[in-house]
């Protein structure tokens, strides 16, 4: 009888860390053939339009960056929290908290000098997301409430807070739709390249990649945060104030997600609507895993995802495959990546007896 066992292997060399995500992406794209064929799409034509739609023209290429910006930020948010084993599944709610704050300020902040409006909004949006994330962190550290559940439930609380405000005090006067008034011009992110939507928020998200990398690698806090993630008891006995580390981790994590909300509002929508986020917070989880919780990994997996999301639009138009293929591919990518990651630590041994 032949049995398969999963056993530990020697650590892989550095190149494998790069090769594995690439391998996972290739396998995911191959697996995507199943839903494409199932939907009756022509295979090569579908793949072609997937990539042509995302990279083929100047506008589409820049649009891929536009789409990547919130994904980078939510991906970083999740990666930074997961690294400390703070299971923040609430990036979606934190993003909405940021967008909501940006709306309130963006509509009403006409009294202060225009140059100060945008910095105020960015800082406030960061804080709003961070504070919203620090609620489950407090519940976890002080009251032992499971963070997975509390962050998830708070997403729904935030959606309904937003709904109550959009049908109430924030609703545009005279409108019967759940939408806010437009923000003032000084609150809009500047567009950096003409004939596109390439905006300041994209640079902010790239900067955030570098900042998180710096915090992780070069600061004591980054080291402490990692230590808490590896073994919270050992970190505690080693003299780290684990409660404070988890709280600060949550604040930064939620803040990054909040910035994603600010970007969507101030650069693309200019007014708050109920579906301001098509689930960027949840995509952030996949992106963080696909990027192996590393900031640079997050950057590349966000770009891969935005290629899929932007490309799926063109593919859908040209071949009739529903755009929800993008979500299916995201889910598959996560599972494939998980299996690939497993084999960096383990290998299959065939046993005969």
């Amino acid at each position: 009888m032949i049995r398969f066992r999963i056993v530990k292997r020697q650590p892989l060399s550095g190149w494998a860390k790069v090769a594995i995500p690439i391998g996972a992406i290739v396998v995911t794209l191959m697996l995507s053939a199943i839903p494409i064929l199932f939907a009756g799409g022509h295979l090569w034509k579908s793949y072609f339009y997937l990539f042509y739609g995302a990279l083929g023209t100047r506008y589409n290429l820049l649009e891929t960056f536009v789409k990547a910006s919130p994904l980078v930020l939510t991906g970083l948010a999740v990666a930074f929290a997961f690294r400390a084993k703070f299971w923040n599944i609430g990036a979606e709610g934190q993003l909405l908290a940021g967008a909501l704050t940006a709306t309130v300020l963006g509509v009403h902040l006409s009294a202060i000098p225009p140059a100060l409006v945008l910095p105020t909004i960015i800082i406030a949006g960061f804080l709003a997301g961070g504070i919203w994330a620090s609620i489950p962190a407090l519940l976890k550290t002080k009251l032992k409430v499971d963070d997975v559940v509390s962050t998830l439930l708070l997403n729904y609380v935030m959606i309904h807070i937003m709904g109550a405000l959009l049908f109430g005090p924030l609703q545009q006067p005279g409108s019967s739709w759940p939408r806010s008034s437009a923000i003032i011009e000084a609150a809009c992110y500047p567009i950096l390249l003409i004939r596109s939507r390439f905006h300041l928020g994209i640079l902010i998200s790239f900067l955030a990649v570098w900042i998180i990398w710096f915090i992780n690698k070069k600061t004591i806090f980054g080291y402490q945060s990692k230590a808490v993630g590896i073994n919270i008891r050992a970190a505690h006995f080693g003299g780290i104030n684990t409660t404070s580390v988890i709280l600060w981790t949550a604040l930064i994590s939620g803040g990054l997600a909040g910035l994603a909300g600010v970007g969507e509002l101030c650069a693309l929508q200019y007014r708050l609507i109920m579906d301001i986020s098509p689930g960027y917070g949840y995509s952030g989880i996949v992106i963080a895993m696909l990027g192996n919780l590393h900031p640079v990994g997050v950057l590349f997996s966000s770009l891969f995802f935005s290629v899929i999301i932007v490309g799926a639009q063109t593919m859908s138009r040209m071949t009739g495959v529903p755009t929800y293929i993008a979500e299916v591919i995201q889910g598959m990518a996560l599972m494939v990546m998980l299996i690939f990651l497993l084999f960096t630590e383990y290998k299959i041994r065939v046993m005969r007896r």
């Binding site: 066992r5 999963i6 056993v7 530990k8 839903p35 199932f38 939907a39 299971w87 599944i89 519940l139 009251l143 032992k144 409430v145 499971d146 997975v148 559940v149 509390s150 998830l152 439930l153 708070l154 997403n155 729904y156 609380v157 309904h160 807070i161 937003m162 709904g163 109550a164 049908f167 109430g168 949840y282 995509s283 989880i285 996949v286 895993m289 529903p322 929800y324 293929i325 993008a326 979500e327 299916v328 591919i329 995201q330 889910g331 598959m332 996560l334 599972m335 998980l338 299996i339 497993l342």
Partner: protein, 316 residues
């Protein structure tokens, strides 16, 4: 006098709505308890429920048989439970991440298949939903009779499943095996229980419950499939498992409280208060968190929950 009649009608309606809204949560909570008692946290629950809701609707729409829809939802739940088992039990991947992966995958898949089959019509297609069944005699009890005993068949099934699950877990040999696997897989393995198989079967059976719980929402509560039909009820079920301390009866009490709040919210909306209805929608989730604060300190989590079991790493 008139005020009093409205009052009674209101309360009796509220009891009925409580039972109705608790049904999907009861199914999902029981499914999750089964998985977690065997040591696996299944965060795929939200996606499995959505796939159940979509599959149940699709099969009922195509075949005209509502029970075939329920059966299909159960099957799809079992398949996704099996996928969860492959990832988290056989390969021993992080239960958090594999569960979330399944939710994301299943959510995308449900919308993909629905769109593929129905396109994007302006008026969503509908089915002939379950009808409420009045139990003879019991439904004739004044005041509460028609509220409690004029329900959908699936609600009665949920009620029968609660004691059945309690008996299975606490009074049978199988239940003892499941609990041992969840508490101490090394001991279970030593006495000859197949840990991997037990966990797999619990995830598969639990997946069936989750699938049916989702199908209730499209086949009984509503008669159409909408993308946000589950609306976080899977996550609520996860919270109810903790609230109920991994016990089917206590978990059901939690589900009833949530059902009550959900029902109250629907009733108050129809009464037409000036408060925005989103405030009511928020309350069940907020109170679930508050309830968790109350119980989390003294929660007794199955000892090997979240820990993959590899025989070679025994004692590690």
């Amino acid at each position: 006098m008139i005020g009093e009649i409205i009052n009674i009608a209101f309360i009796s309606g509220l009891i009925g709505a409580t039972m109705r809204m608790a049904t999907p949560i009861i199914f999902a909570t029981l499914g999750e308890i089964l998985a977690e008692r065997a040591g696996v946290l299944n965060l795929g629950i939200e996606g499995i429920m959505l796939m159940g809701a979509m599959t149940g609707f699709l099969f009922t729409f195509s075949s005209g048989s509502i029970w075939l829809g329920v059966f299909a939802a159960a099957c799809v739940g079992m398949l996704l439970g099996l996928l969860m088992a492959l990832l988290s039990v056989h390969l021993g991947l992080s239960q958090h991440v594999s569960g979330l992966g399944i939710t994301l995958f299943a959510t995308g898949l449900a919308m993909f298949i629905y769109r593929l089959h129905f396109g994007s019509p302006t008026v969503p297609p509908i089915i002939e939903p379950f009808k409420q069944v009045a139990l003879p005699l019991l439904s004739k009890i004044p005041l509460i009779g028609s509220a409690l005993f004029k329900q959908y068949s699936l609600t009665y099934i949920a009620w029968l499943l609660v004691p059945a699950m309690s008996i299975l877990l606490y009074k049978t040999k199988i239940g003892l095996k499941i609990r041992t696997v969840g508490e101490n897989p090394v001991v279970a393995d030593t006495v000859g229980v197949n840990v991997t198989l037990t966990r797999t079967l619990c995830l598969v059976a639990g997946g069936a419950f989750m699938g049916i719980g989702g199908a209730f929402l499209t086949l009984a509560h509503q008669n159409m499939f909408l993308i946000d039909v589950i609306g976080g009820r899977g996550w609520v079920a996860i919270a109810m498992v903790i609230f109920g301390n991994w016990d089917p009866v206590k978990g059901t009490i939690g589900a009833l409280i949530f059902g009550f709040l959900d029902g109250l919210q629907l009733r108050l909306q129809s009464v037409g208060l000036v408060i925005p209805f989103h405030v009511f929608l928020m309350v069940p989730y907020l109170l679930t968190i508050v309830a968790l604060i109350g119980v989390s300190r003294r929660a007794t989590v199955p000892a090997s929950l979240l820990k993959p079991y590899r025989r070679e790493e025994k004692g590690g």
